[in-house]
């Protein structure tokens, strides 16, 4: 889910790496993905017109392969910049990640938008934490709010060793983090609060 190394982030500029990623995702969607979907329809038409059952079965097999290629393209696009992040923001995009997590995850947000770069960097940092949750881990809550000209990201319920990426990302964005006990007595989990400047 997460990139191997974080690109340097210059929030706001149209040439920063996150804007570039977003544009590449668009190009994948509007170009190859749409062409392949159209190809799947044309094969369906051929299959409908052909009288030979063996040939029709062969065409259907090729369609299945096309579906698999499209699924791979979708995964690739999601690693560049998830389309839902661009269209709907951090809350909906992280909820999608939470659906695949091995532990219960609650995403709390009020649909605030923070711009392509900040949302991109935050998404991949949080997504990496959620993807690394072991089976049966305690519940995690991710809350995203705006306080003045800061984005406040509060993540509760991670194990103490699992917060490095969040802190590193917050620092790279010119923010600061506080880490403390979550207040839950029976489990060794933490609460991380990152405050990151936003426009």
């Amino acid at each position: 889910m997460a990139p191997d190394s974080l690109p340097a982030v210059l929030p706001g500029g149209a040439d920063d790496p996150w804007h570039q990623r977003m544009r590449l995702e668009r190009e994948l969607h509007d170009g190859p993905a749409l062409r392949l979907s159209a190809l799947a329809l044309r094969l369906g038409l051929l299959s409908h017109r052909c009288q030979d059952p063996a040939l029709a079965e062969g065409i259907s097999g090729v369609q299945d392969e096309l579906h698999a290629v499209l699924e791979e393209l979708r995964n690739l696009a999601g690693k560049l910049y998830p389309p839902l992040l661009d269209e709907a923001g951090l809350g909906p995009a992280l909820r999608q990640v939470a659906e695949h997590a091995e532990a219960p995850v609650a995403i709390v947000d009020n649909s605030e938008r923070f711009g392509t770069a900040l949302e991109g960097a935050t998404y991949f940092a949080v997504a990496e934490c959620l993807a690394a949750l072991p089976v049966g881990a305690p519940a995690v809550e991710v809350a995203i709010t705006r306080e003045g000209d800061e984005m406040v990201l509060a993540v509760t319920g991670l194990e103490p060793g699992a917060t490095a990426r969040l802190q590193e990302t917050a620092r790279s964005l010119g923010g600061r983090t506080d880490t403390g006990p979550s207040g839950s007595p029976e489990t060794a989990v933490t609460a991380v609060t990152a405050r990151i400047p936003c426009a």
């Binding site: 749409l34 979907s37 159209a38 579906h67 709907a88 939470a98 219960p104």
Partner: protein, 221 residues
């Protein structure tokens, strides 16, 4: 069936037109954005309007056009096509309507049979959901409800998944090679285990119940 379509990708739009014609449907119009389909259908209603979700007006012209179409013609079916099967969009679609709606991946309507089956089920009043999405919603429950789902048998999960796809009892029976009577029994058990009120008379209300239940799991986290 009378249909109209709005899709901004010319190649895909033309492909879909050819497939619809081959399936014997009557294409009233074929346009490239949400505003154009609303104008077209203001005077010329169809049985089902086929809408790309991600088209102008950006970012999701298909959804905003659908809201206006539903207000103008409440009985017109709406089939949403997308490159992505995401529960976020499903919830928005269900906010527009819970009858006569469908949400499918673009490449998966690539056969005359699947396309016609999808359109007919929508025209019959059903909710049609991309199977992979219905499966994900049913099999990956979150939070406290995880325990409830794990109380279901494997067969009951199959039935719930097909319910979430908008299938009728007979449809489910056909898919699972069992009698409709057996399906009814499974559904009664599911409702019982999930603590839902059974209402076998109105099947889309039942689907809505399932989806509302799934949505509440997501919101609870």
């Amino acid at each position: 069936m009378r249909v109209a379509l709005a899709e901004d990708g010319a190649l895909f739009r033309e492909g879909l037109q050819m497939l619809l014609e081959a399936a014997g449907h009557d294409i009233v119009g074929s346009v490239a954005d949400g505003d154009a389909i609303v104008r077209l259908l203001a005077t010329e209603p169809v049985d089902v309007a086929i809408l790309d979700i991600r088209m102008p007006p950006e970012p999701d012209g298909g959804l905003t056009a659908a809201e206006r179409l539903r207000a103008l013609h409440p009985d017109m079916g709406l089939l949403f096509l997308s490159h992505y099967a995401e529960s976020h969009y499903l919830m928005r679609i269900l906010g527009i309507g819970t009858e006569r709606v469908g949400y499918r991946l673009k490449e998966k309507v690539g056969s005359v049979d699947v396309l016609s089956d999808t359109l007919e089920r929508i025209d019959d009043g059903e909710i049609v959901i991309e199977p992979v999405l219905a499966k994900r919603l049913v099999e990956k429950p979150q939070g406290d409800k995880k325990g409830l789902i794990s109380a279901l048998s494997e067969r009951e999960i199959d039935v719930l998944r097909l319910m979430a796809e908008g299938r009728s009892n007979n449809g489910i029976a056909g898919q699972l090679f069992v009698t409709p009577k057996a399906v009814e029994k499974h559904i009664a058990n599911i409702f019982d285990k999930l603590g839902l009120q059974a209402d076998t008379a109105a099947h889309h209300r039942r689907v809505l119940a399932v989806l509302t239940y799934l949505r509440s799991q997501r919101e609870d986290g």
